[in-house]
Symmetry: C2
Subunit: 485 residues, 2 copies
């Protein structure tokens, strides 16, 4: 375990939803588990000028209670008293940021900290550039120790806005200081995809166009848009899920073997994949939007009936697309990405279809029935695991074949898996950028999808809530993997 | 399911141990399950001239009771009355066999059977040639329908005796009539080895010297020699297990893809393997003999203390050897065979070690610790299944690797597996020779081992009952797969 040096964890947007739901519980768990060492404090920063340390500690205690940490409330209170501080940046004037810088320095003196800082921007997209500028002008891009800036998605909402966001960040921070979080990369199963590929010789031998017929990546959500209409109406599935999570998974599946498990090497190979993807044609994209239906046996309204959504909205809540990584390894192998809200179940998986046996010696007359492809299913959530479907002889005579699975379940081997977000925060604290997305990756990813964002040739087809998507997805692929067991 | 035509099942050696333990229970189960159809009878034949149908039916009922078939004794009695007959061949004169032939014809008239016959020679090796001659001279090598001859192991005790046995059989029976039983080939798991190899494209791609480092085949018994000293003293592990069962498994692992799943094609490929094995050197063989120890927590005597065994016996109860299949697919890949009595547990498995990853990007400085080979374990008994060991990321940070298994258990998919012996008898009844050993295979297999049978350079090393064999086995292979979980 790398050691975490003494530090201040600064949260910009300290009263926000992400802070309450994710950041505070994750920092608390890391702190209590001891991996952060003893010398660290949290400085919450928001616009509310009426808060002080004491009232923010109450807010944090409330957040911890809501997070169901099975923590004793006295322990939590004690932790807050020792660790939590607050500072307002009010309207965000230069003077406000100057005061923030002074508060940070004062805390470092008080707690004898060497000036290492994590600054997490838990803010809406339109507040990021201004905050970065404010921090930078107040000198908070440098400190006596290290300063690391954590950015949360979305990283822009188009290629142009992503570029301008990167430029705004780079005005004050080196790319080596920046940690863009995609929480999918913090999942054990996702990291293990790299280990599975690069520590198992048999996998690497099969992992190419000679042996793979197609790849399908599915991230299905059962929830709708919850209270996020204002955000989602201007986002949609392509921006919200495909451009980041699904594209990251695609990169990990398709990338070449990096020269080492280092940030530079891994990012280099991911960018290479992104740049080798052939332009995606409008006819290779299917958008959908859920109409009223039933999920888990409960009636739910359609997207256009959700609070805050226009009754004529054309925002896509489902996206499926087909693309090609046009390099020596993958040319000709279709990659399918699929994501949607209000699907029957929450389910994320990567499915690799290996080639069919060329002939069947067991049923020479019936090729289709007799040769099924071997299918590798990497289940990301829930029920994390790996399954390799293979043909086996059914019991009895004569020889008939049936598909069974060689399977591995994480819970059998490791019990409960750690939280992805926690894992990533710890990586920031130890300065490991491997699982974070760099500027070039963000832009290369937007480059892929930018043309679709305003392409009216891509129709939005209705699908019933509780189904796996609109019928039109069958146009891309006749053989979508069924996530049902 | 192929239909079984009406027939007589003739058992030569009807009062023997094999008949009681295996044949009668298997025929009963097949009969009661309906797969043999309604028109079939059993004719038991032995030397006892004082038996008749009635007293043999009692003997059969007793055998069925002993076999724990969960059958109602009235059902069993009714079955015996309908199906079971007896005929003595006394001293085995021509007249005796002539009487047998007449009895068979009489039964066929009585039960309106078309003259299809299975003749099972459930006899000690030294009685086989004489019985075949008696049957042949009485015309029982042909009948108005088909006549099929079932031979039980051992098929000779050296190359010369195997040849002379084959000649004796062929004097009266065509090879197309002969079914040599190796009950290992009736196991579902063993048959499935062929399906696993030839119906799964990914397996075939890995199944060669490019990707396989070594193969280990282990058949471990926990029992000693039981009451079979007279047989075993003149046999030993090489004749009793290696020459037949282990060599058959080796053939199935190493064979090329046959042109079809037909007897001719499968046998052709197996013979090709046997003929491509390089001569086995004495230094590549280790023999052992158990001395007193403890198995499953019980004290057991050494081999030389067993009843009927010479106190100076040099018979091997353990054999391990290394060989090479010197063809394009396997040249340079060591195949290890290992079998023994009084091992810690009953355990049969085929283990294929795939190559190591050439480098580890996760632990560049520590190659040995970081790259383990992928290992495929086909468990034949007990707990039948397939396991593919692979490297996985341990939970947490930094990246450390651990071996886990992609696994498949037959019992999960299919429940209890059918009896191997039953499966093979049904194949004889339907005329399918695929899983039986032909004359050329027997001789090619003896050819491999003949030189070792009297090679005094091969020492017999003691090993403690309840261990996995003598320490000298480490000379052949430093990495024997541990059958322990």
């Amino acid at each position: 375990m790398n050691t975490v040096e003494p530090h201040v964890f600064i949260i910009m947007g300290a009263l926000g939803d992400l802070t309450r739901r994710k950041l505070i519980p994750a920092i608390y768990r890391l702190s209590e588990s001891g991996v952060l060492g003893d010398q660290h404090v949290v400085l919450g920063v928001d616009r509310d000028g009426n808060r002080d340390d004491a009232s923010y500690r109450s807010w944090v205690r409330e957040a911890l209670r809501g997070a169901d940490l099975k923590t004793d409330s006295e322990d939590a209170a004690h932790w807050c008293d020792r660790r939590i501080h607050y500072q307002s940046v009010g309207a965000g004037t230069d003077a406000d940021y100057h005061a923030l810088a002074q508060k940070a320095e004062a805390l470092e003196r008080e707690h004898e900290l060497p000036g290492n800082r994590l600054i997490n921007l838990a803010l809406p997209l339109d507040a990021v550039a201004g905050t970065v500028a404010g921090l930078g002008k107040a000198g908070m891009n440098r400190s006596p120790g290290w300063t690391r800036l954590i950015l949360e998605k979305p990283f822009g909402r188009s290629l142009a806005s992503a570029r301008s966001l990167n430029e705004a960040v780079h005005q004050h921070y080196d790319e080596s200081q920046v940690y863009r979080i995609d929480h999918y990369l913090g999942k054990e199963t996702v990291q293990n995809l790299l280990v599975f590929r690069f520590a198992n010789a048999f996998v690497e031998h099969l992992w190419n166009r000679e042996h793979v017929e197609q790849v399908q990546i599915t991230v299905a959500e059962d929830i709708g848009i919850e209270e996020r209409a204002a955000y989602y109406e201007h986002s949609g599935a392509l921006r919200d899920m495909v451009q980041n999570h699904l594209t990251q998974l695609l990169c990990l599946v398709a990338m070449e073997i990096p020269s080492g498990f280092t940030p530079e090497a891994v990012r280099y190979e991911k960018i290479k994949v992104l740049r080798q993807i052939a332009p995606i044609q409008p006819e290779d994209v299917v958008f959908g939007q859920y109409v009223g239906g039933s999920v888990h046996g409960e009636q739910v309204v359609g997207y256009r009936e959700e609070d805050g959504v226009s009754p004529e909205s054309d925002t896509e809540t489902f996206a499926a697309l087909k693309l090609e990584v046009a390099n020596w390894r993958w040319k000709g192998v279709p990659f399918y990405l699929r994501t949607g809200k209000r699907m029957p179940r929450r389910h994320s998986e990567i499915v690799v279809y290996f080639e069919h046996a060329p002939v069947s010696i067991f049923h020479p007359g019936d090729f289709q029935a007799a040769t099924k492809p071997n299918i590798l299913v990497v289940r990301l959530q829930p029920d994390e695991g790996i399954g390799l479907q293979f043909q086996v002889k059914s019991v009895g005579d004569p020889v008939t074949l049936t598909s069974q699975e060689l399977s591995f379940r994480y819970s059998d081997a490791f019990g409960a898996l750690p939280d992805a977000y926690e894992h990533l925060l710890l990586d920031v604290a130890t300065g490991d950028q491997t699982l974070f997305i760099c500027d070039d990756e963000v832009e290369a990813s937007w480059q892929l999808y930018d043309s679709m964002l305003a392409d009216h040739r891509i129709k939005v087809h209705p699908y019933v809530a509780g189904s796996w998507g609109p019928a039109e997805m069958g146009r891309l692929c006749t053989q979508w993997h069924s996530p049902d067991p």
